[in-house]
């Protein structure tokens, strides 16, 4: 059988599901077996995604490895998946962090291990699905599928205030996503009304061409874009919609936080790039100024608030707000470097913040406390841990040579071309980031060992090999992408130019209360 | 007067209204049941009046009325049996005291 015939993407997507089912039938008491099985399936999916990466042809801007099966022909709804550069990168990111997170859950998770692994694998299915779905309906389904396992992961294995956090997370996300559902249906219907056929009404590629040629009527664009925007903005999360994030992060178990920060937040940005902007360019142009302002607020505001966080995880959570602010900024200046920077920033934030949360988890395992005030002088006691953490801290602060820098710089460059003052405000985050990150690092690692830590005695061991195993890949990638960002940039070049050709030169819709 | 449909209809309306009042106002389950019978009869009167004064309906009226009569009977049966059943449990026929379930 020909290699091209292998439904590679479907395999990547559903191998974890198979894993979940297998795990479901394993005896509850065989913890080791359950762990191993989950890890193996995650690794298989990871390996397959690497095949995708290798087989992907960056010079071809089209969606590759497409699989199309009719699903609900009445409405032209298909099972249609495919990957362009962006999808491929994000899929690989997902599969990578999935197995890392599962590995990282080995020690912390003892309660209801089986349910945990099942939820986690299903979560992975949803995440990958979102990135490869080329049918809006399918996309929405995967989008919602992500919600449930995350809800359980936070709600069951989370911290003391987990239920509040998880319900907030779900409801908040639902409000956005359900409106998005209405928007998706409205879009499809508009297409059907215009062309007289349901065929392709949910097919992204068809819709994109439609948007490029005929274009959706302006009020549909406005409504649909706003709905999409709300859904994605909540997920990103953008400035006024961000308050679910700190709670969710603080309460979630380590691996949960990792997936949340590294992948879930990317869903929103991905949605913007893939759907919101190309489908409704005029509306996007219309609201771009507003979104840019919100992004700037997020960048500065998030950083300042992060400065005074008493909780280790909360601090990183707010730093996520800042970094994702860069992403949305980069997207909505509609400028080549900006968009590439945004995508790069997505990946980097995934790696870096994921790493940070893993590290925090490592220490939480020993201290069962995240109150920064109770730490201090850790560097003397756990030098390797401190060094590794410092590495991620500086990566997060955008130190050149590490991956964080290139993304931010490209966004700045784009922003500057858009408007120097925007760039100036955004650039100020270089100071902020340094401030809150180093302030945190200083409080936790330098000085004399705090009484609390001294009280832990021998529990306070340095990082263990298996933990290191979860960190090292991330660190390596951070360095590699820092020195050779081209690896990613070449992949996404096609996506970027495709999106920009959609949106550039489109004149914004004139609103009586706007512009 | 007895030759005008309106008279009968208004009469029926009044009867219906009285029935409604009884249903809303009485406390005793059985009185409420009786009120419902009044309302049904009001409807019957309407039907017959239509049957009598609208040629298109002529015979139908009576037929329908008969059937409605039977339905009313069936309802009464069920109703009374339920009343008896609950009376066994609650030892009172006063409906407004059946308010265990609320909110």
């Amino acid at each position: 059988m020909n290699v091209a015939d292998i439904p590679l993407i479907s395999l990547i997507t559903f191998v974890p599901l198979v894993g979940a089912i297998v795990v479901a039938f394993l005896p509850r008491e065989r913890a080791g077996l359950i762990r191993a099985t989950a890890l193996v399936f995650a690794l298989v999916s990871f390996g397959l995604s690497l095949l995708l990466l290798i087989g992907f042809n960056p010079t071809n801007p089209a969606f590759q490895y497409q699989e199309v099966h009719d699903w609900i022909p009445v409405f032209g709804i298909q099972y249609k998946v495919g990957a362009d550069g962006l999808s491929t990168i994000l899929v690989v990111l997902t599969t990578t962090l999935s197995w890392i997170s599962i590995l990282a859950s080995f020690r912390p998770i003892k309660e209801r291990l089986k349910e945990y692994m099942i939820s986690f694998l299903i979560l992975e299915v949803g995440l990958i699905g979102v990135f490869v779905a080329l049918d809006l309906f399918l996309f929405y389904i995967f989008w919602e599928v992500v919600l449930v396992p995350m809800y359980l992961i936070i709600g069951i294995w989370g911290g003391s205030n987990r239920i509040y956090a998880t319900i907030k997370f779900v409801l908040y996300t639902l409000v956005g996503s359900l409106l998005m559902l209405v928007a998706i249906l409205a879009t499809a219907y508009t297409f059907e009304a215009a062309t007289g056929t349901w065929v392709g009404a949910f097919d992204f590629i068809t819709l994109r061409n439609f948007a490029a040629t005929t274009g959706f009527v302006s009020n549909v664009q406005l409504f649909a874009f706003l709905a999409f925007f709300l859904a994605f903005a909540i997920k990103v999360p953008m400035f006024p919609f961000h308050t679910w994030l700190p709670d969710a992060h603080v309460e979630a178990p380590t691996a949960g936080s990792v997936m949340l920060a590294a992948i879930l937040l990317k869903l929103g940005a991905y949605g913007f790039i893939r759907f919101a902007v190309p489908l409704f360019p005029a509306a996007a142009e219309t609201f771009a100024p507003l979104i840019i302002v919100l992004s700037l607020i997020a960048i500065v505001y998030g950083a300042i608030v992060a400065l005074v966080q008493p909780d280790w995880k909360k601090l990183i959570a707010y730093s996520s707000v800042t970094h994702m602010g860069f992403v949305t900024l980069g997207i909505f200046i509609f400028q080549e470097q900006g968009l590439q920077g945004a995508i790069l920033q997505m990946i980097n934030h995934g790696l870096i913040t994921g790493g940070l949360f893993l590290m925090i988890g490592v220490m939480y395992e020993r201290t069962h406390d995240r109150t920064i005030a109770r730490f201090g002088g850790l560097a003397g006691r756990t030098p390797v841990y401190a060094a590794a953490f410092g590495f991620f801290v500086f990566a997060s602060a955008g130190l050149p040579g590490l991956s964080g820098f290139v993304g931010e710089f490209l966004v700045l460059l784009g922003a500057f071309a858009y408007n120097p003052w925007v760039a100036a405000v955004a650039a100020s985050c270089m100071i902020w980031a340094a401030a809150y990150l180093l302030f945190m690092f200083q409080r936790i690692f330098t000085g004399e060992l705090s009484d609390f830590l001294r009280g832990l005695g021998n529990h306070l061991t340095d990082i263990s090999p298996i933990e290191a195993l979860t960190i090292v890949p991330l660190g390596a990638m951070i360095v590699v992408f820092g020195l050779f960002p081209g690896l990613i940039l070449h992949m996404v070049q096609g996506t970027v130019s495709a999106v920009l050709t959609e949106v550039q030169g489109v004149s914004p819709i004139h609103l009586f209360f706007w512009q | 007067m007895s030759h005008s449909l309106d008279a009968y209809l208004i009469l029926a309306g009044v009867l219906f209204a009285i029935g409604t009042f009884g249903f809303l106002a009485r406390r005793n389950a059985i009185s409420m049941l009786m009120s419902i019978e009044l309302m049904l009869n009001a409807v019957n009167l309407t039907i017959l009046a239509f049957g009598a004064f609208i040629p298109a309906l002529k015979v139908q009226g009576s037929a329908i009325a008969l059937i409605v009569l039977a339905v009313a009977a069936a309802e009464a049966t069920v109703g009374l049996s339920i009343v008896i059943a609950i009376y066994r449990n609650k030892k009172t026929p006063l409906v407004d005291e059946y308010d265990t379930m609320r909110d």
């Binding site: 609900i72 009445v74 069951i156 249906l185 499809a188 | 609950i86």
Partner: protein, 490 residues
């Protein structure tokens, strides 16, 4: 009355015969539930088969009083299925409270015959009779646990208000007869079409008739503000009955709406559509809001069923274009099936928990279920997610369907769509609350172990499978639904 007529009404007749047979078996072998159940379930199978056979070709009998079309078949099969599952779920619950299964089955079958009559009626009087035949057994079932104060209380509330609304409904029918001079559905619609077409303004009498009819059906589908009976009746009834009550009479009433409003009063759709939109908005909003603050899962599900009435009404609200009309009806019918599967499942789980007497349906009962009864907990989660409308479940696709219709209709219906999704988001809160209790809370004290009989298990599995299948492969049902909808709107 000819043989042709008889063969046409065969399914309906069969249902009644089966009811009779059940009673006979009970008289032959008294005090044993197995035979009666066997007869009932077997009979139901026969009924279903007959319904499908007869339904292959649209026919009429009793010169148009009885009419079989695709809608009839679809609904009949649906109702038979629901009744069958109810019969699977109920026995454990009933016998543990020593309530007789045969009588239960018989009454249930009578109710079935009633609702089948509705779905097949081509005559307003038959429609009314069908309605009565559907609800009267309903009252009895509600009070079936006759030694339980709550059950009888629910029953009498249901009965009193029910017959009150029946009287109102009947008055409305009378006025329509007076206006149109016929009881046949086509007759009515043609007459009304003539009136509407005529330059003369619609008479107040017609308006009043519409008002009374709308009130009547709004009560039967438990639309706000005519929903008051629902929570009490549902909470009081024996749980399996609640499951049945929340589905068959509701969907039956919707069938009534299809026959009466869409067919007979079709020409006046412009008038009643407005009211429907308002009702829909009120219903789903109030249903969800009140459900938020319920501590008894049963009562919560009662309010949620009110909310779902609202969602189903969206299907009728999407009336602006003929395309959206079809779309809406299809959505409504699909929703009916989906709703049946998931709601029945949810109540089945509650029933399973309450198998022993004295177990309340308070949230506390569900605490830690995830540990004690993983299967039940997972199934419950599935049903609740479906009720929330999370893909890939039946509930999601149904919701999407009606919303799509509303979006197509645009205008006020479009706004209704937005209201609907906001409601859905709010609803997630109380559905997920149960999940929270099942998986994230530990039980107080030592809860009684749960025993699930084979029948019960089958019932649960069936509804679970349906819930998933209707979500993942809607293609299976869509053509059927489409034909059914087309049967109503030519």
């Amino acid at each position: 009355m000819s043989w042709a007529d008889l063969s046409t009404i065969a399914p309906f007749a069969a249902a009644i015969v089966v009811a009779g047979l059940v009673i006979v078996t009970d008289i032959i072998v008294p005090g044993r539930r197995a035979p009666a159940l066997a007869v009932a379930l077997g009979g139901l199978a026969v009924v279903a088969v007959l319904a499908i056979l007869v339904g292959r070709t649209p026919t009429t009998a009793f010169d148009g009083a009885y009419r079989v079309d695709d809608l009839t078949t679809y609904l009949d099969v649906l109702f038979v299925a629901v009744v069958a599952v109810t019969l699977m779920v109920a026995p454990d619950y009933l016998t543990s409270r020593d309530l007789p299964v045969p009588e239960f089955a018989a009454v249930l079958l009578f109710a079935l015959s009633g609702v089948m009559l509705i779905s097949a009626s081509g005559d307003l009087l038959v429609l009314f009779l069908g309605l009565e035949l559907m609800v009267l057994p309903g009252y009895l079932l509600a009070g079936f646990a006759k030694h339980d104060a709550l059950s009888t209380e629910g029953a009498i509330k249901y009965f009193l208000l029910g017959s009150f609304s029946s009287a109102i409904f009947l008055f409305g029918l009378a006025l329509i007869w007076g206006m149109t001079g016929t009881t046949r559905i086509e007759g009515v619609s043609t007459a009304l079409a003539a009136i509407v077409a005529g330059s003369a303004p619609l008479t107040p009498g017609l308006a009043m008739g519409l008002a009374f009819l709308t009130t009547g059906v709004a009560f039967k589908i438990a639309a706000v503000p005519f929903h008051y009976w629902t929570p009490d009746a549902y909470q009081g009834s024996p749980t399996p009955v609640t499951g049945y009550l929340s589905i068959v009479p509701k969907v039956g009433a919707f069938a009534l709406i299809l026959r009466l409003f869409v067919e007979a009063l079709g020409p006046l759709s412009a008038d009643w559509n407005v009211v429907i939109i308002v009702l829909a908005a009120l219903t789903m909003t109030l249903g969800n809001l009140v459900a938020l603050s319920q501590d008894s899962v049963k009562r919560m599900l009662a309010y949620s069923s009110i909310a779902h009435t609202g969602y189903m009404l969206i299907g009728l609200a999407a009336w602006s274009s003929s395309k959206s009309q079809i779309q809406g009806l299809e959505g409504l019918l699909y929703y009916g099936a989906a709703y049946a599967a998931m709601n029945l499942g949810a109540f089945a789980v509650v029933a399973a928990l309450q198998r022993r007497t004295g177990i309340s349906s308070q949230l506390e009962t569900f605490a830690g279920l995830g540990r004690r009864e993983p299967l039940l907990a997972i199934l419950m989660t599935l049903f609740l997610l479906s009720l929330t409308g999370i893909p890939p479940t039946a509930g999601f696709f149904a919701k999407a369907y009606v919303i799509l219709a509303a979006v197509e209709a645009g205008g006020p219906a479009g706004i209704l769509a937005v209201i609907a999704v906001l409601n859905a988001a709010a609803a997630a809160f109380y559905y997920l609350r149960v999940v929270v209790y099942m998986f994230m809370r530990e039980p107080k004290g030592e809860p009684a172990p749960v025993v699930i009989g084979r029948l019960m298990r089958t019932g649960l599995i069936v509804s679970a499978v349906l819930t998933v299948v209707l979500g993942v492969l809607p293609e299976l049902l869509l053509p059927v639904v489409e034909r059914a909808a087309k049967a109503v709107i030519q």
